[in-house]
Symmetry: C2
DNA sequence: TTTCCTTACGCCTATCGTAAGCATA
DNA sequence: TATGCTTACGATAGGCGTAAGGAAA
């Protein structure tokens, strides 16, 4: 025979009523089984909990101690149930989220703000990571979800596009095209270009190639770098031009200006949400839905 | 169907093993009933706790949450049992103890030291009270036990003598008998006496009367007071003599000296332990036994 | 095929209800 | 006598074991 919560539930009611009949009534049962359960409990505790014989019924010292403790324990048990239910609904738990620098100006804070206000009891762990590293981190499980540049389809991953941004060209403020509203692609083909490192920022390297592909040309790459700030600094130094997504304007690097490109077919930089299909659990589901919700609201603005 | 500790005990083992068969073996049962109990638990929580199908078994987010919480709750439950058992053995709880000033020099600290070292988890509440007030406090239940002058037998009280002290006579340092080792009772009968208030320190008033009763005389009371210090101060001021128990020497009031009395039959002042018979519970029993133990050890010294 | 969990079904323990006994006020 | 708890005993629900079914590796 083992201690069960039932014993304590019965005991607390009896300790409050100090009358087996009334307590049994409150518990929707009859006196004798209540007596038995209390005797079992006393057996467990190795000491009487009530002083019988003399009426009215009274708690022993051990009984008083157990009354206080039982109330606490039952409350604790209620909280355990509550927490688990919340975890089941994705309202409580932990979530490790990675993001790329490019999501920082608008998308990332918008999603995080919305999510934390809807799910304040989820602990967030935020990590800034470039997209290829996010893919690895998803594999090893060190992050649950990432805001990244789109992945070429991996079988275990699920991705959804959150945001499309027009590509702009970034050029030094003193460049000879600086006064133009928009610049023709053919003209840009003559200019030296700074591009992104193929390993750590593969995406923009590919985009740059795709943009020039429209006119059957390719960029004259004079330099590569992996971080947006480094690339812009190189542009400011007059070493070349580069293509950047519209949100890069928010970085407002001194000596760098942004101009539209005259496209045949507009090309967009995309921000995506990625996660492992296997790891989908309520907390993650809620985060994904929140991110998609925010994305829905932001798309019209950035188009 | 209600949540019981059994569910959590099973769940924790399963969450550790991540295998129903092994977990069931550890729980000395077979798989199917374990499956059932876990399903009941999942029903209670309103969410799956394990991801089945895919092997090996894995915890859901809610399951991970519940694992942490269950371990805590089960530990809490163990502590509740432990505390209650301790209370049942009188090793934990509360005790309100009253004492008179006269017990302060030796008896009271000896008992308290012994008791607190044997029962460190009992909270003590100490109150200095004159004996008649202790009697009232025992009646109302505002104290559990008192170290007092003996009570005339009250039906609800139990008392045990802890200490017997010889009575001495206190006299001003410049008194004409100051050089004597002992003083005859007949000589004292001529002297003015300071005695104790009948209501608040009834005991010494009675003793004083009893001492002079031995020679068929009675004291010339010139003044009364209720506290030992006040009486000694009055003696120091030369207003009269008084009878005090031997332990009063420890108070060493300036200008007051103590001398033996030549008795026909020695008369002792007694210190007793008093408590209500009805209220005897393990904590009190342990205290009484400790007090009697200390008393046994002290009696030879003070005799 | 092997491993592992669930479903199905019967046993049996242990909780609960009814009725009688016994102690206190 | 009335009230209140325990003891005695029969009913029954629910936990557990055995055996079979079905899904994953």
């Amino acid at each position: 025979m083992n201690l069960e919560l039932r014993h304590l539930r019965y005991f607390v009611v009896l300790a409050e009523e100090l009358n087996f009949a009334r307590a049994a009534r409150r518990l929707h049962m009859t006196q004798p089984p209540l007596s038995q359960q209390i005797m079992q409990l006393e057996d467990q505790m190795g000491t009487p909990l009530f002083i019988r014989g003399r009426r009215p019924l009274r708690l022993t010292d051990a009984g008083s101690e157990l009354l206080v403790q039982s109330k606490r324990l039952l409350e604790h048990a209620d909280n355990v149930v509550l927490s688990t239910k919340q975890a089941g609904r994705g309202e409580r738990g932990n979530l490790t989220i990675a993001f790329i620098t490019g999501s920082l100006p608008y998308l990332f804070p918008a999603i995080i703000n919305r999510y934390t206000s809807k799910f304040p009891n989820v602990n967030l762990n935020l990590k800034e990571l470039v997209s290829p590293f996010q893919r690895d981190a998803l594999h090893t499980g060190s992050i649950d979800v990432g805001i990244m540049r789109p992945l070429q389809d991996e079988p275990n991953f699920e991705t959804r596009i959150l945001l499309k941004e027009r590509m702009l060209v970034a050029l030094p403020a003193n460049h000879r095209y600086a006064q133009r509203q928009a610049i023709e692609l053919e003209e840009l083909a003559q200019e030296p270009f700074v591009s992104f490192d193929r390993k750590e920022a593969n995406y923009f390297d590919v985009i740059t190639t795709r943009i020039f592909g429209q006119i059957g040309s390719s960029p004259k790459i004079v330099q590569t770098a992996s971080q947006m700030y480094t690339v812009l600094a190189t542009v400011a130094a007059g070493m070349g031009l580069t293509f950047v997504p519209e949100s890069a304007k928010a970085l407002s690097f001194p000596g760098v200006i942004f101009r539209e490109i005259a496209f045949a077919t507009p090309i967009y930089a995309e921000l995506a949400l990625g996660w492992r299909r296997e790891r989908v659990q309520p907390v993650l589901t809620n985060f994904i839905n929140t991110a998609l919700e925010v994305s829905e609201e932001m798309l019209p603005i950035t188009k």
